[in-house]
Amino acid sequence: MPEPAPVQTTYYVDVVNMPVAAPRAGSPQQAADTEDLAPPPPPEPAQPEMSAPTVPVTSSPAVSPKKQTQKQADSASFDQQMAKLQTAADARRQAQRLDELRTKVDAQGRSGMPKGMGSQAGSDYTAYIHSRLKDAFQETISYQSKAPFVQVRLVIAANGRLLSARFEKSSKDQLFELAVRRAINMAEPQFVPPPDDQQYEGLFVFRPEGVAQQ
């Protein structure tokens, strides 16, 4: 029997989709009973407790101390007003931006967010499958021609099982085809169900790194 070698466990950290626990593109619709669990709206910006810093005043022997004190008070009051207005404008802008984002998400959803379909550009699920395939392909790549390539259409069932891997185009390098098949076999156990519990279909082109497209 072969000598047992230490098993190396690979942990995948999907940096792009950190907010989503699963690599699926989010749930199709947010359940009504989860609305309570939604994060509270951002708090109103608090009034600054401290007064605005006063402008340092250089002493002038020609101005009396009383006049100088009144002038300082007027200036501080003006600065406070300006700071309030500025803060209020910022808060309005922030709230408006949040409203826009909420409207956008409510309207069409986004990958990795509620109502995401998983079919948008940069879809998480395609990226996830690509990542698994790439890792496996690195372990199996082997070829005997100069510029091999294989175009494969993968169909993944709603339960995450690979339904079919159809080789649509190939440079006819059989060793390379075998390497791609082995990569798909190796990656398959790590496939997860596609978003929306729908069948997923994706087109992937395998080729050695640095080999130009024919």
Binding site: M1, P2, E3, P4, A5, V7, T126, H130, L133, K134, F137, Q138, E139, T140, I141, S142, Y143, Q144, Q151, K172, Q174, L175, L178, A179, R181, R182, A183, N185, M186, G202, L203, F204, V205, F206, R207, P208, E209, G210
Partner: protein, 430 residues
């Protein structure tokens, strides 16, 4: 009326186009760096009967391991494993254990000996895919064990690459072991050498007919270098060209109907074609210089040959009717022994470069590169699958037969017969 149908047409067109548009999603590119050599474990076949001959099992595993290593596609390792309970046909190998040990492919086998009768079975498994890729069962004598093992090696390459190996095909060569230069035959790995001709004379330049049944060669058995044909099954030898002067460097056409050779019946040596019976000579070259060593392209449309019409011998190519002659080898160095690769894309030849060395160039003469650099290396011939090149070399003293991969790697001496060994020819090639 037509105006009313426009929306219907538009809807139909949209219905037709929508799926196409949906399917036209761009493909995602999956790339990886490097080009891995597959790692194969070869386990000696386990006994299926009462007779246990571990030396036979080990020999079978060694043959397959060496063949696969020389193919250049994989690294092989002979491993022992516990016999599969229930035999090879019923049990599944422990894929996980083999994968943990780092193997991509696994060869298991089973043998049964009853007297001299041998039953041998091999199976090839894909460890990653966890499936059986190939199985072959052989029935024969115990002495056939190496032949069966070579055959399974060929089958492994066929399964993995689509092109069978050439390991079960023999190599013919000229050896002086008997005291005379005679044609011999051996397995590709140098085993099972046996003498073919017994002419007690000088025998040169063997070439095999495309059907593998007849061998032609030049022999001085009657004083003159004449061309002979030998039926390998019956051993019957007939002279097919004994014209005055030289009858040398015979080469079968790919369809077996003609033989190209060098004849000097009219003075200097010129390239002719004759029918396989030796009749109907047709002169292809006309010059004041020597023209020898014709080699047919695999499709039969061209003939490469050697001519010294520019001074030193150089490799030329011409149409099979003698027209359109072009020089292929460059420089002024002595160049000879052209041999086409089985796919017709390359020509291997000998060139003087600090001693004779093996070179390979594209069939149009471009991209010439050197494969050997030790000793004197001559007469390259391709294996029928184009993966290997057999040649003669004196790097270890006397001339011996060597094999290397088509890129020049893995140069290995294979002939073990005494004396000088040269003029190799891998059976099965054009």
């Amino acid at each position: 009326m037509i105006n009313r149908l426009y929306p219907v047409f538009a809807a139909l067109l949209l219905c037709c186009l929508l799926p196409v548009m949906a399917a036209a999603a761009p493909a995602v590119e999956v790339t990886a760096s490097g080009n891995r050599q597959l790692k194969m474990a070869v386990v000696p076949p386990q006994p299926a009967g009462t007779v246990i001959r571990p030396e036979l099992a080990n020999e079978a595993a060694e043959v397959i391991g060496f063949d696969m290593a020389m193919s250049g596609l994989m690294l092989t390792e002979q491993r022992t494993a516990l016999p599969l309970p229930g035999g090879l046909a019923l049990a599944r190998p422990s894929y996980a254990a083999w994968q943990t040990a780092g193997f991509d492919l696994l060869v298991l086998g089973e043998y049964e000996l009853r007297g001299d009768e041998l039953t041998l079975e091999f199976r090839l498994f894909d460890i990653t895919g966890q499936k059986q890729l190939a199985v072959k069962r052989y029935l024969g004598k115990a002495k056939d064990l190496r032949r069966f093992s070579h055959n399974f090696s060929d089958h492994i390459l066929l399964t993995l690459t689509g092109t069978a190996g050439s390991f079960s095909l023999p190599i013919f060569y000229v050896s002086s072991q008997s005291g005379n230069k005679e044609v011999w035959q051996m397995d590709w790995d140098g085993r099972n050498a046996r003498q073919i001709t017994h002419n007690r004379s000088i025998t040169l330049s063997p070439d095999l007919s495309p059907d593998g049944r007849e061998l032609i060669y030049t022999s001085y058995k009657r004083g003159n270098p004449d061309l002979y044909k030998r039926n390998l099954a019956s051993g019957l030898e007939t002279v097919i060209s004994n014209r005055s002067g030289l009858n040398i460097t015979g080469s079968w056409s790919p369809d077996g109907s003609k033989i190209a050779l060098g004849l000097s019946k009219d003075g200097n040596t010129e390239i002719y074609t004759i029918a396989s019976s030796g009749k109907n000579p047709n002169r292809l070259t006309i010059s004041q210089s020597a023209n020898v060593s014709p080699a047919w392209s695999p499709d039969g449309s061209k003939i490469a040959f050697v001519s010294d019409k520019l001074g030193n011998p150089q490799v030329f190519v011409m149409d099979n009717n003698g027209g359109n002659q072009q020089r292929l080898s460059s420089g002024t160095a002595y160049s000879s022994n052209p041999a086409w690769s089985p796919d017709g894309s390359k020509i291997a030849y000998t060139r003087s470069a600090g001693g004779f060395q093996i070179f390979v160039m594209k069939a149009d003469g471009s991209e010439q590169y050197q494969l050997t650099d030790i000793g004197r290396n001559e007469r390259p011939r391709w294996s029928p699958d184009g993966r290997l090149i057999v040649f003669s070399s004196n790097r270890d003293g006397r001339e011996a037969i060597y094999v290397m991969r088509a890129d020049g790697s893995g140069q290995t001496r294979i002939s073990t017969t005494a004396g000088s060994n040269n003029h190799p020819l891998w059976a099965g090639q054009q």
